[in-house]
Symmetry: C2
Subunit: 249 residues, 2 copies
């Protein structure tokens, strides 16, 4: 299961990413050394938010970057007509709040209770310029988040609702495996409506997509937030070619 509660071992901010220099079978590792984490800890303050709370709002002055210790966070964009679109799903050892022109480009909300390190940008900048190795690790992490975002775009390019949901489940499963969890049982730290925002579809469509995958025996719901991959090969087949499954209706 996806563990949102156990902090990374050790003290201080932590970032986890795929190692750019070795093949590690999709396993992410902690990039920061004990010293790097201690250095960052000196700049950081710990902040907590309850489930559902806004961490920062799009357009407000971006004076800090955040690093998740425990919990899950959604970065989302609010359109002028009031709808919300999630642009990133953030988990422990992720970084968020990077900005341009001193304003946050989107808002952030706690999906679960969260504990964060808050790093003021000015102090962080100074610190980074004195620690090239740390900077390099941050570059790796950003490249990782960029790939993640591109994958999100890929998901959104899917036409069929159940294909999007399947890609989403695969994504979450990989994240939990990459953090050392085990495959097969997926924990969703969010409501159906949040999933809908991430998948770019309505609550109803999400619900129907869950129903469709369940009816085909591909997944099974233990409860609303726990999904088990019931038929791995059908799951893989669906991901490989979304159209192949349609006939099974």
């Amino acid at each position: 299961m996806l563990d949102l509660l156990t902090p990374a071992r050790g003290e201080g901010p932590a970032i986890r990413a795929l190692d750019p220099w070795t093949s590690s079978a999709g396993r992410m590792r902690q990039l920061l050394s004990r010293d790097e984490r201690a250095g960052l800890a000196a700049l950081a303050t710990v902040v907590r938010h309850r489930k559902g709370e806004i961490i920062y709002r799009q357009g407000s002055p971006a004076d800090a970057v955040f690093n998740i210790v425990t919990g899950a966070v959604a970065a989302f964009h609010t359109t002028p007509d009031g709808r919300e679109h999630m642009v990133a799903l953030l988990l422990p050892e992720d970084i968020f709040g990077l900005s341009a022109e001193r304003r946050y480009a989107n808002s952030a909300r706690a999906l679960t209770p969260v504990t964060l390190y808050r790093l003021p940008v000015t102090a962080l900048r100074t610190h980074l310029l004195h620690d090239p190795a740390l900077e390099f690790h941050l570059i790796c992490k950003l490249a990782q988040e960029l790939r993640q975002s591109q994958r999100h775009a890929l998901l959104l390019g899917q036409r069929r609702a159940y294909a999007r949901l399947a890609m989403f489940l695969q994504l979450i499963e990989e994240l939990q495996v990459a953090r050392g969890g085990k495959a097969g049982e997926i924990f969703l730290p969010m409501h159906r409506s949040d999933i809908g925002e991430y998948l770019g579809m309505t609550l109803s469509a999400v619900s129907r997509a869950f129903a469709a995958l369940t009816a085909r025996g591909i997944i099974a719901l233990r409860d609303r937030n726990h999904v088990r991959i019931a038929d791995r090969s059908a799951f893989e087949r669906l991901l490989a070619d979304p159209r192949a499954v349609r006939a099974a209706d």
Copy 2:
């Protein structure tokens, strides 16, 4: 018009991004100093590709990062069933080819004739670790590309085809303004099918979306690759609330 042909003034790799420390009204600037560019130039080789050529293929060993001098590049992902989805549109002074686990996560293709700096990753890494300021600039650029990717996701979350197209046009226009071009006249360095891949819809849908916006007097096509915003306020209104325009059918 979007200038893809004039290289950045000066010599060597160049990266352009929004300045994270000042409000610059959306205007991007060259982040690298003359010295930084010269230092990078020492590692780089210049490569050229004809329009349509593959620069690297998803899954192949990622031994270099690229920086665009002139031209436009598409980063795209090929799904097992053969369809292609564009995940990024890259222009002069952009960086691409960052990877994890020594493999490219997606393919890259020249949309126009392109000139690139090719930076071997090992040399680049060593160089970066000796130049914290340069690393910091790279961080800014990556944050920029991350925001760009999130914006792409936002676009893909739109339901109506013409809304996606409008967001796309806005995006291209901003890119050209940010690079010093002037607003109002947009150059599209790609075919309708490429646009379709970026917007996550078919060629026909792209064509119909162009037709819809033209029929409403929002845009005007000088030729296939040159779009003029004919009615700026209607354009803005459409972007603010895609549903508002439907009635105007």
